[in-house]
C-alpha cells in the first residue's frame, strides 16, 4: 500500500516543468519513431540512452516510460492510414484499421486505436503498480538455485518463443552468453577472452551493445534494404484527417464491449511478463481471442473496431507487464525494458527483489509517468497533433539516418570519453546486422548478454553449495517450480501448437 501511495504522490513531480518537458518530449519522440516504418521506439530509446548519464535517474526513467508507452501506440498511425505498421506491435491493428481507412473512417480507426491504447496502457500500469510490490516480496523467496532456474527459464522461453527459428534463437543466445563471459570472472580473479586488451577487463559495456544492436544495425538494415516507402509517403500526403472524427461513438464502444478491453489488456499484461514475448505476441493473442469470442467473427479483417481495440489494448498493456520481471528479477521482457534495465545499471541501481523496498523512490515516478502517458498523453497527443502525424512518413530519410548515425556514434563516446567504446558500438552494430540478415533474433542475443553473468554466477554458487550435486535444482522447491514452469512452456510452445486462422495468416 505504501508503494501505491508513493506512486500517486510521484505525480507531483510532473508539476516540475523540466521533468514534464522530458516526459512529453519522450512521448513525442517515441511516437515519431514508432510511426515511421523501419524505425522503432527501441531505436529512440537506444539513442537517448547516453543522455541519461547527464539526467537524474528519476527523470531519465520517467522519459523512458513515456517513450515505451508512445512506442506501443505510435505504430498504429501508419498501420491504420497506409497499411504499414510503424511498429511490429501494431501489425494486428492494420488488419482492421486499414479497411476502416478505405471506408473513409481512418480518423475513427485512429480514435479506436488511441482509446484501446489508453485503456490497455492504464490497466497495465495500474496492475504493475498494484502487483509489483507483491511480486517483489515473493521474489525474495527465490534463493540461489531458484535464481539460476529462473534465469534459465527466461532464456529458454525466449528461445522457444521464436517459432520455427529455435536453432537460430539458440545460437543468438549463445553469442550473447559468449559476449557476457568477456572480462574479469565474477568469482575468481581471472580475466577471460580479453586477449591482453585492458579495455575489455571490465567486460563489454552495455552502452555500445545497445547502441550497436539497435541504432547502428538498424541504419545498416535500412541501407541494405531496397524497400521504398515513397509510395507510402505519397499515400500519406493524400490522407486527410479531421480532429472531430477521432472520437469513437458510444455505440461503437458498446459494440466492442468493456469486457473486450479488459480481457485484451489482461492478455497483454500477462504476455508482457514473459521474457521476449513483447507487444506483437500480446496483440496477436488478444486479437485471436477477440475473434474467437466474437458474435461476428467474419467481420474481422474487414474493419471491425473490436479488432483494433483488442490489438491496441493488449500491446499497450504489455508495457506494464514487461516491467514486472525487469524490476523484480532484472529480467527484461523485451528490448525496450532491456534498455531501461541499462538505464538502471548505468546509474548503479541493481534491479532485483530489493529494488522495490530499498529504492522505491526511484521506481515510483517511472510508474507514475507510465500511467500519465497512457491516460493523458495518448489522447492529448492524438487530438493535438494527430492530423499531422501522418506527415511524419514524408520526413527525409537521408537526413534522418544521418542524424541517427551521428547520435549513435557520438552517444557511445559519452560514457567513457573513449573511442574504444565507439569501435565496440560499430562492432556490435555489424554483428547485430548480420544476425538479423541471417534470421537470428537479436533479442535472444541481448537477453543472453544481459542475463549471462548472473546465470553463470548462480550456477556456480548453486553447485558449490550442493557440493557439485546437480540434483539440487530439482530438490530445491523454488528451483523445481521454475523447472516445471519451463516444461509447461516447452509443452505449449514447442509440443502443442495453436491452430491457424485465415485472417491471422493474412496479417502475417
Amino acid at each position: 500500500m505504501d508503494f501505491i501511495l508513493l506512486v500517486f504522490s510521484s505525480f507531483s513531480l510532473l508539476l516540475d516543468p523540466v521533468i514534464l518537458t522530458y516526459v512529453i518530449l519522450g512521448f513525442v519522440i517515441g511516437t515519431i519513431f514508432a510511426a515511421i516504418p523501419g524505425l522503432t521506439a527501441t531505436l529512440a530509446m537506444a539513442l537517448l540512452l547516453p543522455l541519461t548519464y547527464t539526467l537524474n535517474v528519476e527523470t531519465a526513467l520517467m522519459a523512458c516510460a513515456s517513450i515505451y508507452m508512445a512506442g506501443m501506440c505510435g505504430g498504429s498511425i501508419t498501420a491504420t492510414t497506409i497499411n504499414i505498421p510503424g511498429a511490429p506491435s501494431s501489425m494486428m491493428t492494420a488488419l482492421d484499421g486499414y479497411p476502416l481507412q478505405q471506408q473513409g473512417k481512418g480518423a475513427l480507426a485512429l480514435g479506436h486505436a488511441a482509446l484501446g491504447s489508453m485503456f490497455g496502457g492504464a490497466l497495465g500500469a495500474i496492475l504493475l503498480i498494484a502487483l509489483a510490490p507483491f511480486v517483489a516480496e515473493l521474489s525474495l523467496l527465490v534463493k540461489t538455485t531458484g535464481k539460476f532456474s529462473l534465469l534459465a527459464f527466461a532464456i529458454i522461453v525466449v528461445v522457444i518463443a521464436q517459432r520455427g527459428k529455435v536453432a537460430q534463437a539458440g545460437l543468438a543466445a549463445c553469442i550473447g552468453l559468449m559476449l557476457a563471459t568477456v572480462g574479469l570472472d565474477a568469482m575468481e580473479p581471472i580475466t577471460r577472452f580479453t586477449y591482453g586488451n585492458s579495455n575489455l577487463t571490465a567486460g563489454i559495456d552495455l552502452m555500445p551493445v545497445i547502441i550497436g544492436t539497435f541504432a547502428i544495425a538498424e541504419v545498416l538494415m535500412q541501407a541494405s534494404s531496397s524497400r521504398d516507402i515513397s509510395a507510402a509517403a505519397a499515400a500519406a500526403e493524400k490522407v486527410k484527417i479531421r480532429r472531430r472524427d477521432f472520437l469513437p461513438p458510444l455505440s461503437d464502444i458498446r459494440r466492442i464491449g468493456v469486457g473486450c478491453y479488459i480481457k485484451s489488456s489482461l492478455i497483454g499484461y500477462f504476455v508482457g511478463t514473459l521474457p521476449g514475448a513483447g507487444g506483437s505476441m500480446g496483440s496477436f493473442l488478444a486479437y485471436t481471442e477477440a475473434m474467437r469470442t466474437s458474435r461476428e467473427p467474419e467481420t474481422f479483417g474487414k474493419g471491425n473496431p473490436q479488432g483494433i481495440a483488442a490489438s491496441e489494448s493488449a500491446n499497450n498493456a504489455v508495457c506494464g507487464g514487461a516491467m514486472v520481471p525487469m524490476l523484480t528479477f532484472g529480467i527484461p521482457g523485451d528490448p525496450i525494458t532491456a534498455i531501461m534495465l541499462g538505464v538502471l545499471v548505468i546509474n548503479g541501481i541493481q534491479p532485483g527483489p530489493q529494488l522495490m523496498s530499498d529504492q522505491a523512490g526511484l521506481i515510483a515516478p517511472m510508474l507514475a509517468a507510465l500511467l500519465f502517458s497512457a491516460v493523458v498523453l495518448i489522447p492529448l497527443t492524438l487530438y493535438l497533433i494527430g492530423p499531422y502525424f501522418i506527415k511524419i512518413v514524408s520526413i527525409r530519410k537521408d537526413v534522418l539516418y544521418g542524424v541517427i548515425c551521428l547520435l549513435a556514434v557520438v552517444g557511445s563516446y559519452v560514457a567513457t570519453y573513449s573511442t574504444f567504446q565507439m569501435f565496440m558500438a560499430l562492432g556490435m552494430g555489424i554483428l547485430a546486422f548480420y544476425l538479423r540478415r541471417n534470421g537470428l533474433p537479436v533479442i535472444t542475443m541481448l537477453l543472453g548478454y544481459i542475463l549471462g553473468p548472473n546465470l553463470e554466477e548462480f550456477l556456480r554458487r548453486s553447485l558449490a553449495l550442493s557440493n557439485g550435486n546437480p540434483m539440487t535444482f530439482l530438490t530445491s522447491p523454488d528451483s523445481l517450480f521454475f523447472v516445471l514452469l519451463t516444461m509447461v512452456f516447452i509443452y505449449f510452445l514447442v509440443i502443442r501448437k495453436p491452430s491457424k486462422s485465415p485472417v491471422l495468416a493474412q496479417g502475417k
Partner: protein, 149 residues
C-alpha cells in the same frame, strides 16, 4: 552448394565458436575438486554454439535450393556506411567534432540519397552538426573534442 551468403555467415560463427571453445578450454579444467572453475560455463556455451551452428548448417544444406535472385542489383550502401563510421571514429578525436562530424553526416546523407543538390546537403549537414553540438555540449554537458581544446 557448399557456399552461399547464409552458409558463409554460419561458417564464420562456427569458426568463432570453435576459437572460443579452444580459448575456454585453455583456461583450465572445467571442474576442480567438485567446484566449477571459470572455464566451465564458457566451455558449455561454446559447445552449445557449435551444436546450434551444426544444426543450422545441416538445415541449410537440406533446405530446398534458394529461388533465383531478382534482377535488382545488390546494394552495398551498408558497407560504405560501415567504412564511413570507421573513419569517423578514427578522425573524431584527432580532427575534432566539427570537421569529422560534418563530413560524416554529409557522407551519410549522400549515401542515403544521391550526388545531387550537394550544396543543400552540405548546409543540412552543418545544421545537424551544430544542433548536435548544442545538444551534447550545452544541454547534456558532454565535452566533445574540438580543435581549440
Amino acid at each position: 552448394m557448399l557456399m552461399n551468403r547464409q552458409l558463409l555467415f554460419l561458417y564464420v560463427i562456427l569458426a568463432v565458436s570453435v576459437g572460443y571453445l579452444i580459448s575456454a578450454m585453455s583456461l583450465g579444467a572445467p571442474t576442480d575438486e567438485g567446484r566449477l572453475t571459470p572455464s566451465f560455463f564458457p566451455i558449455l556455451v561454446g559447445a552449445a554454439a557449435i551444436v546450434f551452428c551444426g544444426v543450422l548448417i545441416t538445415q541449410t544444406f537440406r533446405a530446398a535450393p534458394a529461388p533465383k535472385r531478382s534482377a535488382e542489383p545488390p546494394r552495398y550502401t551498408h558497407l560504405w556506411i560501415v567504412v564511413a563510421i570507421f573513419f569517423y571514429i578514427l578522425a573524431f578525436k584527432t580532427v575534432g567534432y566539427f570537421t569529422s562530424s560534418g563530413l560524416f553526416v554529409f557522407a551519410l546523407i549522400v549515401l542515403f540519397s544521391s550526388f545531387e543538390k550537394l550544396i543543400q546537403k552540405a548546409l543540412i549537414s552543418v545544421a545537424v552538426v551544430l544542433a548536435g553540438y548544442v545538444m551534447f555540449q550545452y544541454l547534456f554537458g558532454v565535452r566533445l573534442p574540438t580543435l581549440w581544446g
